[in-house]
């Protein structure tokens, strides 16, 4: 469990990244911090592995204040994935994945063998092991980044907009892959994004942040969609533009789901074993 207690981050010069943030992140679940730029979400994430030290307040992991831990040891015990993958360009894929185990003294041969298995875990071909990061596609690099973060089998996985730099199709694949991994591994994931749809997809708990790290609303996707706390949340999730209020319409004989602006959002399909909403009537008319 990770707990933020009245955390503040003030930079010399007076810029306040985070004013007063408190939050509990339960173990073995995915919590997404979502907000636009300036919301302090990345700053908060980096406080967990002490890349940033708070000006006031505490961050606790399993009731231990991280400020009392050794920075380097703490970072080695926490997986970290960032947007531009942050792979070491001068190391092969295999050695990148083996980075942390080799830092903590695992024999090279053993660490490399484990790295090969991890490549498969994240859906990469072992044949890529001897390539350099520049020889991989963006999506493949992100998968290597995830494999590297998993290499020391950490309890906590920090992900800083990990899929922000890849195209939408690859992003979709990576998101699905992460959900599959999480269902197998059950890590405590803290995930930062500015994309509310990604937040709702990944997060067991979603924390919507206002500028300055103020919590606008925290809860499950269902809770937030059903009852947005205020105008800010409504705007953020798109409810104010009618994006979240869907209704059925028939157009050219097909039953289409449209949102509040009248824009088509999808097609209505029958749930399995439910003949009540077939596209039958539409065909009859056509």
């Amino acid at each position: 469990m990770i707990r933020f207690e009245s955390v503040q981050k003030r930079y010399p010069g007076g810029t306040v990244a985070v004013e007063d943030f408190s939050c509990t992140i339960p173990s073995h679940t995915a919590t997404v911090l979502v907000g636009s730029s300036g919301s302090g979400k990345t700053t908060l994430l980096r406080m967990i592995n002490r890349m940033v030290d708070p000006s006031a307040g505490r961050v606790l992991i399993d009731d231990q204040d991280v400020a009392t831990t050794d920075k380097v040891a703490l970072r080695r015990s926490i997986g970290y994935v960032m947007q531009a993958s942050g792979l070491l360009p001068h190391r092969t894929v295999q050695d990148n994945v083996a980075t942390v185990p080799m830092l903590t003294g695992t024999p090279k041969r053993e660490a490399r063998a484990a790295a090969l298995d991890l490549l498969e875990t994240v859906g990469l071909d072992r044949g890529l092991a001897t390539r350099y990061p520049s020889q991989l596609s963006g999506g493949q690099q992100q998968r290597v980044g995830v494999a590297r973060a998993l290499a020391s089998d950490p309890n906590i996985l920090l992900m800083d907009e990990p899929f922000g730099a890849v195209d939408p199709i690859v992003r979709g694949e990576l998101q699905t892959e992460l959900l599959r991994l999480q269902s197998e591994l059950g890590k405590t994931i803290v995930f930062v994004t500015h994309d509310i749809d990604e937040a709702f997809l990944i997060g067991d708990q979603v924390v919507i942040l206002r500028p300055g790290g103020e919590v606008a609303q925290a809860g499950t996707a269902e809770e937030i969609l059903a009852a947005p706390a205020d105008d800010f949340v409504e705007r953020f999730i798109g409810a104010d533009r009618g994006r979240r209020a869907l209704r059925l319409e028939e157009r050219d004989g097909t039953r289409i789901v449209v949102d509040g602006t009248g824009r088509a959002a999808g097609v209505l399909q029958a749930a399995e074993g439910d003949p009540a909403v077939p596209d039958g009537p539409a065909k009859d008319r056509a």
Partner: protein, 234 residues
């Protein structure tokens, strides 16, 4: 040509002395430039000043420097030490700005990622920052090598043994072959050392010449091998 064949031992001795002065100066300039450049990088605003000051050092005329240095160092004017110190200073003038650029060329995100994985500051410098600065450092070092090897000849005017003595002696005695031998050998040594550096760079930094990624695999066409493997694993 007959002069060359008749004086191979002289030429060989001078070439050896030439290397004996050039190599220590090159190594010293490279090794000393790294901490200076690291420090300059930390000073931020002063970085430009250090870079400019270093470059100005290169503008000091070489002959007067060779004469002044013995006074400062207390060595004899014909000592190789003077030449090595002077060449190190000229080497630094070239290498410091190059090293500053080299450290700036390292992607800050990669360094942050390395820190986040749990590299301590010292380990991060040796294992990540220095190797990644390598290609730009190498480019700077190649210039230092060629410049230093040619500057060694100035010592010849003062009577410090080097291939430069072949020009001086050749002019005084009117032996064209001797002058040509000095010029050709100086150039040959510079080219040979430069070639060695290029080879060393390829051996030490195979990643720098590794090819680029193929285009992002299209989902509609040939399946992404990654996605295929994922399907297999799942």
């Amino acid at each position: 040509m007959s002069w060359v064949l008749g004086n191979l031992d002289v030429i060989g001795g001078h070439a050896g002395a030439h290397l004996l002065q050039a190599l220590p100066a090159i190594v010293l300039a490279f090794v000393l430039a790294l901490p200076v450049a690291k420090l300059a990088g930390r000073l931020g605003v002063l970085r430009g000043g250090i870079s400019t000051a270093a470059a100005l050092m290169y503008a000091i005329p070489s002959l007067p420097l060779f004469i002044v240095l013995p006074i400062v160092l207390g060595t004899s004017i014909r000592s190789m030490v003077n030449v090595i110190v002077a060449l190190t200073l000229y080497g630094l003038a070239l290498m410091v700005p190059a090293a500053i650029d080299a450290f700036r060329s390292v992607d800050g995100d990669v360094l942050r990622a390395a820190t986040a994985q749990g590299y301590g500051p010292v380990a991060r410098f040796w294992a990540v920052e220095l190797p990644l600065a390598g290609p730009v450092l190498l480019a700077g070092l190649r210039v230092v090598v060629v410049s230093t090897v040619s500057l060694v000849t100035v010592g010849g005017v003062l009577g410090v043994p080097s291939l430069g003595m072949l020009f001086v002696d050749g002019f005084q005695r009117g032996i064209t072959a001797e002058i040509l031998a000095g010029i050709v050998l100086t150039a040959a040594i510079a080219l040979a050392l430069d070639g060695l550096l290029v080879l060393a760079g390829r051996a030490l930094m195979p990643w720098a010449s590794a090819g680029k990624a193929p285009a992002e695999p299209s989902p509609a066409g040939a399946p992404d091998p990654a996605a295929a493997a994922a399907g297999g694993a799942a």
